[in-house]
Assembly symmetry: C2
Homo-oligomer: 173 residues x 2
């Protein structure tokens, strides 16, 4: 196995290694908290912000009564999963000395609108989510299969979707 | 209760009503499929696209080895939930004749990085997600509580997160 270069896949392996060492020596460093602030912008439009990043718009397609100016929330959820898996491939491939030439993910899922529209009481969300990963690399297939298994088994968004997460949604008084 | 104006809250009630009637007369019209295409852009950066919308960037913060240029995937997931709830409030308030003066949602959740970093085998995702909703309206508190219950009970992203969703993630050969 080639030694993992600091520049392989454009991943900052030194920063990742420092984080791993920090968590090893102080397990509490692994406890992270994440936030998003969403502001409604009229109709079905809204904007989210996290930390010091630019706002990200949200809207619904025409067919759902929106103005069709941005991906909608369920598309954003699929994107979050795909982006999370992409980070996982990049990080784990780099640690394993695997060069990624290109990586694309196609995500899709079905939703039955009956419940959202108030016409039923079943599952309003995705019944299942399918992801097709296309990873170009000259690494042996076995190494890529191991990489894939590791990524799927450790994805924060993947784990969040694969389990029932307690949600506490409070309307302020 | 005031009659629901076509322009209340900026919601296109005619389009929503047409969708409801379409699903009532043809239940198969409620079956919708959603997609996102994610392309890795080097390091921990990637970009997602849905339909004809602009690409949306993703990155990780410095502390996680990223270049800190965009919200990260777990922040995107929180944003998807907040944006979905915002659509739910706008749609259901409009149907109920409730005017929304402003609406903001603060979302947060904790993640333990041990599993993502390969230092453990527990839950890599959100342990729980908390949402504080601030809705300004002159509607009676009871009407807002009913609205809130309806929105929380019918949110596609909320249902997706609140259940264990089957994920099928395949590496193409």
């Amino acid at each position: 196995m080639p030694s993992a270069s600091a520049s392989l896949n454009g991943v900052n392996l030194r920063a990742v290694g420092a984080l791993v060492e920090s968590v090893r020596s102080n397990p509490a460093a692994a406890k992270t908290q994440w936030r998003s602030h969403v502001r409604w912008a009229g109709g079905f439009k809204s904007e989210s912000r996290s930390r010091n990043q630019s706002g990200v718009p949200s809207d619904e397609p025409d067919a759902l009564g929106g103005d069709d100016t941005a991906p909608n929330p369920v598309e954003q959820l699929l994107a979050a999963l795909g982006n999370c898996l992409a980070v996982g491939y990049a990080a784990n491939a780099t640690v394993a000395g695997i060069r990624i030439d290109s990586l694309e993910l196609e995500l899709q899922g079905d939703i039955d609108l009956h419940t959202f529209l108030g016409l039923g009481s079943g599952n309003a969300g995705f019944e299942a989510i399918e992801v097709k990963v296309r990873l170009a690399s000259d690494a042996p297939r076995e190494a890529l299969d191991q990489l894939h298994a590791k990524v799927v088994g450790t994805s924060p968004v993947g784990h969040t979707l694969g389990r029932a997460v307690p949600l506490r949604i409070d309307l302020a008084r």
